[in-house]
Amino acid sequence: MRPNPRLYPLLATIAIFFTAYLLCWLQFPFMLSTRVVGNLLTDNAYLGIVAVGMTVVILSGGIDLSVGSVIAFSGVFIAVMLRDTGLHPIIVFALLLVVTTAFGAVMGAIIHGLAMPAFIVTLAGMFLARGAAYMLTIDSVPIDHAFFEALQDSHWRMPGGGRFTLIGALMLLAIAGGALVAHRTRFGASVFAIGGGPDTARLMGVEVGRTTIGIYAFSGLMAGLSGIVFAIYTGSGYPLATVGTELTAIAAVVIGGTLLTGGAGYVVGTLFGVLTMGLIQTYIVFDGTLSSWWTKIVIGVLLLCFILLQKSLLRIATPVRASSEG
């Protein structure tokens, strides 16, 4: 039995990632050290987590531009709360997750209730979240808390000196959790259904409204979680942080083989999309000769190469039309 053609983009992504890693390794043998692998996980943890939420949103055919700002807001919120109140970080985290989830839910409600395009509603959300961060503080606020330092420091030292950090682990957990939600729950099935066509989904009995709210709430939750991870990662809150992260996340999701039009994709693919983005960054740093502008150009070109490769692999793998195989 041949694998479902729907798996091909995912397989292509994974194959390309490992090939690219191999090529990097040939050029810089050090790339294969556990340090680099550990860094790849740690440095992209926040991106991976937020990309899980983005994957679910994109699977439903929507888009969430607010996540970058929500991450920044989360950092500022945590920092300011820890500075100004005596609350324990855990409680602050819980509060934050409630806030960001509610924020997402409200956006979802507007999107559904007023039939407005997600792009615009979440664009307004993006302005709003960053504006809210400014209103909390315009300064960058350090986080000094023993518990926080413990979180920052918790890692498992891999053989070879690399660190497998808590936040790296958290990202892998988020991916696993996201995969379960998207592929193994009724909510996830409804997400795919809406991505396949909201009208048809409605006729099939999907509660489109409730699901839409759930989708954006989930994305908000993931953005909040990502904000926590980012705060742990940087140990501070900064209202200007993570500008443009939503676009990076979208790119990662798309490289991961999820269709922007919705209805097809895998959460695991997103992990490889994120790692691919991280690999590009790492490669550029290892190279170390590119000027600022060439850095931008090369990132774009590599992105294009990945997408073209994926396209051509898919074209080879699938015949003219899915329906035309005998």
């Binding site: 039995m1 479902n4 053609p5 729907r6 379960l180 592929h183 193994r184 729950t185 009724r186 996830g188 099935a189 795919f192 259904a193 991505g195 396949g196 066509g197 009208d199 048809t200 989904a201 409605r202 006729l203 099939m204 009995g205 999907v206 509660e207 209805g263 097809a264 015949p319 003219v320 039309r321 899915a322 329906s323 035309s324 195989e325 005998g326």
Partner: protein
Amino acid sequence: MLLTIRDLSKSFPGTKALDSVDFDLAAGEVHALLGENGAGKSTLIKCLTGAYRRDEGDIRLDGEPISPGSTAEAQSLGIGTVYQEVNLLDNLTVAKNLTFGREPRRFGLIDGRAQRAEARRMLEGYGLDIDVGRDLGSYSVAIRQIVAIARAVELSGKILILDEPTASLDAAETRMLFDVVRGLRDRGLGIVFVSHFLDQVFELTDRVTVLRNGAKIVTEKTAELDRVALIRHMLGRELEEVEAEQGADHTRSEARRTVVDFKGYGRDGLVDPFDLTVREGEVIGLAGLLGSGRTETAELMFGIRAAQRGEAKVDGEPVSLTSPREAIAAGFGFAPEERKTDGIVADLSVRENIILALQARRGWAKPVPRAEQARLAETYIKRLDIRTSDAEKAVGELSGGNQQKVVLARWLAMNPRFLILDEPTRGVDVGAHAEILRLIGEITEGGMSVLVISSELDELVAASDRIIVVRDRAHVAELSGVEITSGAIVTAIAAPDAGKVA
């Protein structure tokens, strides 16, 4: 009464789709809901299942007033529905479509294995041997339709609603569906059946309700009606039966001039190389089972898929047909089978849809003058009896059959030399059906050549000068003249290895 509907009304901007309609459904009956295109059948069904919010009216199930706010609610009330043209979700696997909303779970998570097993169980009795783990979109319309039916049957605890379920099924599958429906009826379900095939209505149903222009005309026992009376109820007038037993003159074709000539035309994995000569003013029928490769043949000829081998000649000159544009330039026209995805442009008006191909051929710099557009729209709205409040209404808001007519009008307006019609009468009412057949006769009189793909053998027999039989992606037989009979076609489709199922 299982279900009673009283004074149901529903308006869309500019149209009163339902006007105080009453409808009763008893347990253990199959009740036909009939009417012309745009009469309001689908709207009635959608109001009943909560897909539309009704303006007024009272719906009772087992005597209890119900008012489903969503289709999910209707499903939980035991109402299973196959909507017209909604063939479930193409991007999900067959199994997920079938079990959607009732997925078997273990520890709160969907159990994929059980899900597939459940799906296979649901498909038993429909004679379908397909991999339920594949995307629904990779199967043909017919299969998608059967899957939709299987799903609705499973959901219907009390009521099963079928809105034109047989439009894309062939005879064997229809028979299978009827068996299933009868079984459900005997188990005490109430079944609403919408169809434009009157034979099927007489064969299957116990009672008939006819709608016209959104109003209920009559409810009668099927046995007490005859065909003529039924059509009179539907149309509000008598129908001049144009489909005389031998509509086409099957003998005239040989002498005519060749317009298009395909030699060894084919594409690997799609259609085996075939020869086909199209003569002026000739109607060629393409017969075959579902999935036999008829649509593919048409798509190949029209350049939607490029041919790998063989050549095509128009008027003796070789032409390349690698895109619809080239085919149109060569004088071809093509009304596709899947009107929703390949035919109509939903948000454009009826007028714009009709002139679209014409405009594309003229190029962007030479717009069709407004007066000309209006004239064409008027002409075809009248000629094909397209039910629309005016020519500026968006095509997506028309009823299914009327959308089909708009697509036809688009190609007739082009006045092509060779017109390919893939299931042109799918979903159109009796009146329009007859009108379309009459039109085919009329345009071929004028010298246009037509290739018709249809699953209705009677229709093919009535209209065609020649019939090509397609089986397993190959053209296996050609019938002409007096050979053209339903029986001969069926034999050709089945032979020589009748034991093998397609």
